[in-house]
């Protein structure tokens, strides 16, 4: 049995030798956006904790969260969550066995990219 190298095989995905294309980039973006959302989560939980604790603590946290830096992080996170949202729906479609061909997969990738930007702008307008 081909068992010789068990446990010490190359890790996937092989980014350095993989040619970028819509399917791979949209998949990598799903991972990056999902994991990066922990930054916004940290900020929001801190902000809630500060609000629960007292006026002075809230002042500190709120000043940071609503500063230009906080705005930048939250705006990027808003795009990240919408992108991750659409990419997640895309996985549900794939899990159902639909749109598995390359053309449809690439189309779905573009829908995620463009749709997430549109939803981000819409959200900012609404709130």
């Amino acid at each position: 049995m081909a068992d010789v190298n068990r446990g010490d095989r190359p890790l996937s995905p092989h980014l350095t030798i993989y040619r970028p294309q819509m399917t791979s980039i949209s998949s990598i973006l799903t991972r990056i956006t999902g994991n990066a959302l922990i930054v916004a989560t940290l900020m929001i939980v801190w902000w809630l904790l500060a609000a629960a604790t007292g006026p002075e603590y809230f002042e500190t946290a709120n000043a940071f969260v609503t500063s230009w830096f906080g705005d930048l992080v939250l705006t990027l996170s808003l795009w990240a969550i919408w992108y991750h949202y659409l990419a997640g729906l895309r996985h549900l479609i794939w899990d159902a066995g639909r749109c598995m061909d390359i053309k449809s997969a690439e189309k779905l990738g573009w829908i995620c990219v463009i749709g997430s930007v549109v939803l981000t702008i819409l959200t900012i307008i609404i709130i």
Partner: protein, 123 residues
């Protein structure tokens, strides 16, 4: 070498040795989050920038407190398992264990902190 066929070794398990439960959890939590996250975005976005009294009034509402608690709990479980998959892809050995444990501690810690804050505001 053990006298196990390749099929026997793989049966009921996957690379993570837990079968498809992980994937199924991500599907279920993903659908759940898809339903509640847009509402949370609206609530949080509207509350952000207000005074402390306004923020407290928003999150003291039972429905908002419950929804925010759900978003935090399910969202961070979804994150914990998603981040674990990423770590399993890019790290190995002792470093993999340390990183997965760290992500787990961070996720549960944030969940507990967030729920504590919500409870303090809402009750």
């Amino acid at each position: 070498m053990r006298y196990l066929t390749a099929r026997k070794r793989a049966e009921g398990k996957g690379a993570a040795h837990t079968g498809t439960e992980h994937h199924w959890y991500m599907t279920v939590s993903g659908v759940g989050l898809a339903l509640i996250v847009p509402i949370f975005l609206y609530i949080f976005g509207s509350a952000l920038g207000g005074s402390r009294e306004e923020v407290l009034a928003t999150f003291a509402h039972p429905a908002v407190a419950i929804l925010t608690g759900l978003v935090l709990f399910v969202g961070l479980e979804h994150f914990r398992k998603g981040a674990q998959t990423m770590l399993e892809d890019y790290s190995r050995g002792a470093m993999r264990k340390v990183l997965i444990i760290s992500v787990t501690v961070l996720s549960y810690g944030l969940t507990a902190t967030g729920l504590f804050a919500l409870a303090k505001i809402a009750i």
